[in-house]
Subunit: 181 residues, 2 copies
DNA sequence: GTCTATACTCCGATAGAC
DNA sequence: GTCTATCGGAGTATAGAC
């Protein structure tokens, strides 16, 4: 049951954010009762913490898969950027950033902060490799470029959601790749 | 009073989103009473519509100022990207995109959709000018590049919020400019 | 571990007096 | 135009039985 509660909370945080997710909704989706939920977790923030930590870890792992995968540095960056993502669902971690109650709680906020900091650093590292391999213009600042690329991904979700069209996500990603190569 | 209600709602939508903004909070911030609010507006969605339309219009106008301002095409794009923004407050329009209740209501959603569609188109136009002037690589797709740049801005807010540091916003913007020029 | 009962507050709105 | 009263439901939890 503990597991079902965490997964249901992850889904709801993704779909509706922290303020928009009520204990009752979590119970209904997971099939757990009131008592069960408060037995496993102290309350909504505690449950949210478990859910957020898992989502943040997943974000890092998936980035790591592509950025440490096979192929040359620029190829790996391209694979990372082009990965299939559910554009119209938004980013499960990036979304939390817009939630004042999450950002106001240091415990809830830390996993989000760490996930982006680590991914930015990892991407910057691969960009540095790309420069060393002569695949990328030497004049570019790897850290700033990494920030710009990850920002483009996060913003691509925003534009796709605004347009109600996943094609806009892909367009933005291809635009970023066009600038990079 | 009508005016104060709209402005208070704009602020609250910006800070806390649609789900996180209650009629009571609007009344307290604006100084209006229950009766006053429901006299001027039919309810929360009606008031939110007025607030969202104004914020969306403002987004377009400010973009227009820079993109139609003085200077060469690439210079105008740079001015647009580099404009001083309250990074840690997020984008008042982009934020709404993460709000399922806003996106589910066609009336509330339209201003958001239009604002981004128009800004993307306008920026693509200036990028085309830049290509014509030889200031920008001819191989780039203006529409995709415009989407990528606006996405980078929107995502820069996300990264800055995650890091709790406005410097990250500027870093991402400079990274995008580095790729562009 | 899970269930039911209970509590208190806030949400979003309506009604009618002034 | 604004105020107060009132309302049914949802949010977030605690207590105690099973």
């Amino acid at each position: 049951m503990r597991e079902r509660l965490i997964e249901s909370t992850r889904e709801l945080l993704w779909e509706r954010g922290y303020v928009g997710t009520s204990p009752k909704a979590i119970q209904q989706r997971s099939g757990a009762g009131q008592g069960s939920m408060y037995h496993h977790f102290r309350g909504k923030p505690d449950l949210a913490l478990a859910a957020i930590e898992r989502s943040a870890a997943e974000l890092c792992e998936r980035a790591e898969q592509e950025l440490s995968g096979p192929g040359g540095p620029l190829e790996r960056v391209t694979a990372y950027l082009r990965r299939e993502r559910a554009a119209l669902r938004g980013c499960p971690v990036g979304r939390l950033t817009q939630d004042p109650d999450v950002m106001a709680d240091p415990a809830l906020r830390r996993p989000v902060e760490d996930a982006f900091a680590r991914t930015r650093a990892r991407l910057a590292g691969v960009l540095t490799e790309a420069q060393a391999a002569g695949e990328l213009r030497a004049g570019l600042d790897p850290a700033a470029t990494a920030a710009a690329l990850i920002a483009a991904l996060q913003g691509a979700y925003v534009l796709a959601l605004a347009a109600g069209d996943a094609g806009v996500y892909r367009q933005a990603v291809e635009g970023a790749l066009g600038l990079l190569t």
